[in-house]
Amino acid sequence: MTKGLFTTSVGSFPKPDYLVKARNKAARGEIAPQELQELERKATEQWIRVQEELGIDILVDGEMYRGDMVAYFAEHWEGFGESGLVRAYGNRYYHKPVVTGPVRRSRPTTVEWWRYAQSLTSRPVKGMLTGPYTICDWSFDEHYGDRETFVMALAKAVHDEAKDLEAAGCQYIQIDEPAICTRAEEVEMASRALGIVTKGLKAYTVTHTAEYTQTYGEMASVFDQVVHLPVDNLDLEMANSNYFILELFRQRGLPGDKAISAGVLDVHTHRIESVDRVKAGIRQLLEVIPAERLWIKPDCGLKTRLEEEAIAKLKVMVQAVREVKEEMGIE
């Protein structure tokens, strides 16, 4: 039987109430950092158990100890000043860091958390990093004055972090570049920077990329560059945009060295998809992408959903994958 249709998640999960409260208290200095860390570990273990029980193949730690995917690294690296709150959409805000000096990673940032999460399970846990282009694009620059110089300085720091994850035994490393299509004229530079990050890695590499591209035409104009990004697996949102990107795969094909992680759950709505709807999405995907090179996951991180919504959505996804596998004889 063909092996395929592996299940995974993009990265973040909702933080339990007790952790949200503890983070607020810690921010006001009302509880000690160690106390917060214990709750972060507790929440991480909960999410590892949830994923194991659901039967997900490749796990994530859920990012219980991170606020924002960019600010987290900025807080741990030299060169960044205090972040400010900026609105992303609707009522969602993020901490946008300010770079005020040369960026430098003086010690491993995520390795201890990865080690802890992996110690809780025999299934593989992905190492989760944010890519250099996205960190640049989602920061205020008061130092470099030139985007490429800033991006390349970040690429070195992210590469060093990836090497340290690999040395710790991490087999799957995801470097998120959701912002990569923001400026068509910079995709080439962003791709080069990602190449610096993944250079020499033996671990399997993934990038969550090309979020919210406006139209078919705009995706079409950068598609060839996106499918050749220097990683093994491209993690793409699809449900939110009604799978329009599949038409491009149909026309231009998928490079032989690439696998796709396809988003089948819209993470921006409270509504829980039906199993049938997700199955229909997976069948569409299988018309274009062979099962052995297809991973199934939500569109994006689930951190903005309520806990019970996130679990319900994942449950539907796993059930849909299970049924499609059975119907099509996939192992």
Partner: protein, 322 residues
């Protein structure tokens, strides 16, 4: 020379009750829509006061109530549903994309009440802002009309009603936001005809505002559009300064000189220098000095500092260059 804001201002970060918290509570049905409106009002007053304190000559209401420039109008016009999230130009800001599903029509005032509220609570003149018909059409999904042109013209008719209502209410200046035209330059004929229709019957001063892109390829024909004030972003691209070799004496220039997307607060000298250069083409008394775009891309405190700096720059320039 006038100093002015382009449009939006950060919704949170001041002393008024936090609008973000309020909207979260509304989502969980812990407070009412009326309470949220009251909090929006309080924040609007605070934003009006901040602009006056910074010393701006003409202010906006800060668009505290707008989710974004597209859905704010699409939700209140006939013919639209609201679709999936998409990126706003090359920013890290997103909006739910309106879908034109049937004939679009104006069913009643959209920005009028907010304009009247702002006037009642502002010590400075308030300009009214409407998303332009071409940009609104371009940033929507069109499932109702045979092409972009017919949707844009239908929107122009609808938004013309809004502009006439604002004129009647006494707005001294009506600004139409049309950033999309500088990105999709091939649509210029659509933009131009929509601009003519949306301004029909207006005797009040009108402005067109753009940002993020330059006017290369569209200058000087852009001046055919029936707006008295042409607003351009001189930060995102140096090209605008190079392109403006001549400027007609019956138009005024919206001169966006401070980066509305970066926290770095430019020195006064930089503003003076920019004005020194533009003065050769446009006399200072026909300049509306502003940031390059709305300021909601910044934290509240930094947005305020930008406005303070803008006013300092204008004052210094008037001293040095007069």
């Amino acid at each position: 020379m006038y100093t002015t804001a382009v449009g939006h201002y950060p919704k949170i970060g001041g002393k008024a009750p936090n609008l973000r918290t309020a909207l979260n509570r509304l989502d969980l049905e812990r407070i009412t829509q009326e309470e949220v409106h009251r909090i929006e009002d309080e924040n609007t007053v605070e934003v009006l006061e901040a602009q006056a304190r910074a010393g701006l000559d003409v202010v906006t209401d800060g668009q505290v109530r707008w989710e974004d420039g597209q859905t704010h109008f699409a939700r209140r016009l006939k013919g639209f549903s609201i679709g999936g999230l998409t990126r706003y130009f090359n920013t890290n800001t997103y909006y739910r994309q309106p879908v034109a599903e049937g004939p679009v029509a104006w069913e009643g005032p959209i920005a009028l009440q907010d304009y009247q509220f702002a006037v009642a609570h502002s010590s400075k003149p308030v300009k009214a802002v409407i998303t332009g018909p071409y940009t609104l059409a371009r940033l929507c999904v069109n499932q109702a009309y045979p092409d972009l042109n017919s949707l844009a013209l239908a929107l122009a008719e609808a938004l013309n009603q809004e502009a006439l209502a604002l004129q009647k209410a006494g707005a001294p200046l009506i600004q139409f936001d049309e950033p999309a035209i500088l990105k999709y330059k091939e649509d210029f004929p659509v933009f131009l005809e929509a601009a003519r229709r949306v301004t029909r019957g207006l005797t009040v001063k009108t402005a067109v505002s753009t940002w993020f892109y330059d006017i290369s390829g569209l200058y000087p024909q852009f001046l055919q559009a029936p707006f008295q004030v042409i607003g351009l972003d001189f930060v995102s691209s140096r090209a605008n300064l190079e392109l403006l070799k001549k400027f007609p004496s019956d138009k005024e220039l919206g001169f966006g000189v401070l980066d509305g997307r970066n926290t770095y607060v430019e020195p006064v000298e930089q503003i003076v220098e920019a004005l020194r250069r533009i003065k050769r083409v446009v006399p200072l008394d026909r300049i509306h000095l502003s940031p390059s775009c709305g300021l909601e891309y910044l934290p509240r405190e930094r947005a305020y500092q930008k406005l303070v700096r803008l006013v300092e720059g204008a004052r210094k320039a008037q001293e040095v260059l007069a």
